[in-house]
């Protein structure tokens, strides 16, 4: 049994709602429709982000796909996400790693994989994921010494940020893990493993990222208004430059901001609280800028951030603020119980938006801290 299966994980409290258009899109782009989509579809941008931010869609051309799997495993382990861990474990099993080997990776992730390059990447991934304290220039140096160039470092940081995002959404929504955890042990999977591995590897050999001309589903470049410096948290994503990863992240942040489920002020507050908990100055400044545009002045924001409460907050914002602070470091079952209360109080769609925003804030703050720090 893999160690993470012993972590306490609540029953999923969300209702599965099938959305055939999202499923179709997932099949087209990823080759498979993840079971998570049914639980996330009441919040359309969140379900769509599950596809848009999939590592295979980010055009990570400077990273070895095998390393991507290991990074995903390391980050899901650091965040105690049973769902994402089960996904990574299944993928590694299909690609031929035994359970013993994966278990050894768990014991000492950085030390157990072959080269110094992988080791440096995994140490960085765990450091960035845990963010206690936020990673800085010192954490990027070993990557440079191990031979990672600017683009590879950016891609790695982006991959870790995206993994922390998936981990949080899956954990807050308490996505069901039983089927995924049992999958590698199924006889049919064991028998078909070499064929599955062949198809996985063949898919990975294809050009990665959005296909040229696929503008309807995934424009290769963000439109000017999304990519502009005025777009929410563009400053954190800007160092990724004109890459598919930057485009995907900009699209997701923009879609989250345009969603009508919660007011913009509540969204900016979520980012501000997560930024404060992580000690990320850049995110706090950006959130303050956005809050100022939504009627909350400097003094009011300072008061809210200092004590997480204010008579100015409406009931939705007060709930959201209380939940957002818990999303940085948590025990899965504890936060899932809080999430269940929140979902019961505000409804599934709005809860999913809160969970997605908090997860996005965690990802963007970490990314901004790494890419924004002078290297």
């Amino acid at each position: 049994m893999a160690p993470l299966e012993a972590i306490e994980w609540e029953e999923c409290f969300l209702e599965a709602v099938e959305d055939s258009s999202v499923k179709r899109l997932a099949r087209e782009r990823l080759g498979v429709a993840p079971s998570a989509l049914a639980y996330l579809s009441p919040c359309p941008w969140l379900a769509r982000s599950w596809i848009d931010l999939h590592p295979s869609q980010l055009g990570l051309v400077h990273l070895d796909p095998d390393l991507e799997d290991l990074v995903a495993l390391a980050v899901s382990q650091d965040n105690s996400c049973r769902y994402c861990y089960a996904v990574s474990r299944t993928m590694l099993r299909i690609l031929g790693l035994s359970d013993e080997r994966i278990m050894r990776l768990n014991e000492d992730l950085p030390g157990s994989r072959s080269g110094g390059r992988s080791r440096a990447a995994l140490v960085f991934a765990k450091r960035m994921s845990h963010a206690d304290p936020l990673p800085s220039q010192m954490d990027v140096l070993p990557l440079r010494e191990a031979g990672y160039g600017e683009e590879a470092v950016n891609e790695l940081a982006c991959l870790v940020a995206v993994c922390t995002y998936f981990n949080r959404v899956a954990t807050f929504a308490a996505l069901p893990t039983a089927d995924l955890e049992a999958l590698p042990e199924k006889t049919v999977v064991k028998i078909c493993r070499p064929i599955l591995a062949f198809f996985v590897r063949r898919r990975r050999r294809r050009p990665r990222g959005p296909r040229p001309g696929d503008t309807a589903h995934h424009p290769p470049r963000p439109p000017a208004d999304v990519a502009s410096a005025e777009a929410p948290f563009a400053c954190a994503i800007a160092p990724l430059g004109d890459t598919p990863a930057a485009a995907a992240l900009c699209r997701v942040v923009d879609a989250a901001w345009r969603s009508p489920l919660l007011p913009a002020r509540a969204k900016a507050l979520t980012f501000a609280i997560v930024g404060k908990a992580l000690g990320c100055e850049q995110s706090q400044l950006e959130a303050r800028r956005l809050l100022a545009g939504n009627g909350l002045g400097r003094t009011e924001v300072t008061e809210i951030l200092a004590h997480l409460s204010s008579p100015l907050l409406d009931p939705v914002e007060a709930s959201l603020v209380a939940f957002a602070r818990e999303t940085v470091w948590y025990q899965p079952a504890q936060i899932q119980r809080k999430a269940r209360h929140l979902a019961a109080a505000m409804g599934q769609a709005r809860f999913l938006e809160v969970a997605g925003l908090a997860a996005l804030a965690n990802a963007v703050c970490r990314l901004g801290a790494v890419l924004g720090s002078p290297r």
Binding site: M1, E100, D132, S309, P311, P315
Partner: protein, 271 residues
Amino acid sequence: MRLGWIFCAAAGALALFFFARDLRCGRHLRRLRRRLGEAAHELERLQASFARFAPRDIVEKVIADGLATGGEQKEVTVLFADLVGFTAMSEALDPDLLVQVLNGYFARMSKAISTNRGHVAKFIGDGILALFGAIEPNPWQADDAAHAALAMQRELRHYNTELAAQGVPSLRAGIGIHKGVAVAGVFGSGDLVEFTVVGGNVNLAARVERLTRAHAAEILVTAAVKAALDSRFVLRELAPVRASGVSDPVVTFALEGFEAEGGKAMGPIPR
């Protein structure tokens, strides 16, 4: 012809021997791997359990380097709680009942502390040392500690009602809270180790708890805590008092409540 048969039989026996040996080795290897896996799993489980009581990076350092790991300076809020007059009460109570009363008290206080994001570092006799912001950074640690103290007060009131029904005298606790930089680390030797914080600020929190008797107040906070508290906490300034081991008189404030108005969360979201 006969030589051929002998050769075939010998080759067959040899193949059978190697096959049996491989089978045995394979079985042995699988057994070893399983044990290794179980040991790894157990280690991971222990590590996960320990990580609830000490920061994960410290747990990892202790596992990798042993106890010779360095401490870390951290901004923490320290809460000391002690039962007033419990020594006299303990002499009058039956030992079994005493243990039962004290364990009930610890259970309720620990819950009040942990639901407000603190962690109990240790029980010292009938005293409790709780830390806020020691495991993970917590910019709202002073508010959390003050809420925890008020929750402890409420829990104790409920507990006293239960004790009164059993004919046990009421318990009264003094709580002192101070905020400052302290050295956090794993201290101890041999079989007895613990994650805790040490330093002048920790000692001051203990002194402030002792001052609850002099001021006849249940919860006292220092000026450093007051500066970081939400303005809706109700505080009453008390006269500076000399405390043992502290050169200057200590200014404290009695924490008397929290004015919860506006900004109320929807639904029963636990703190």
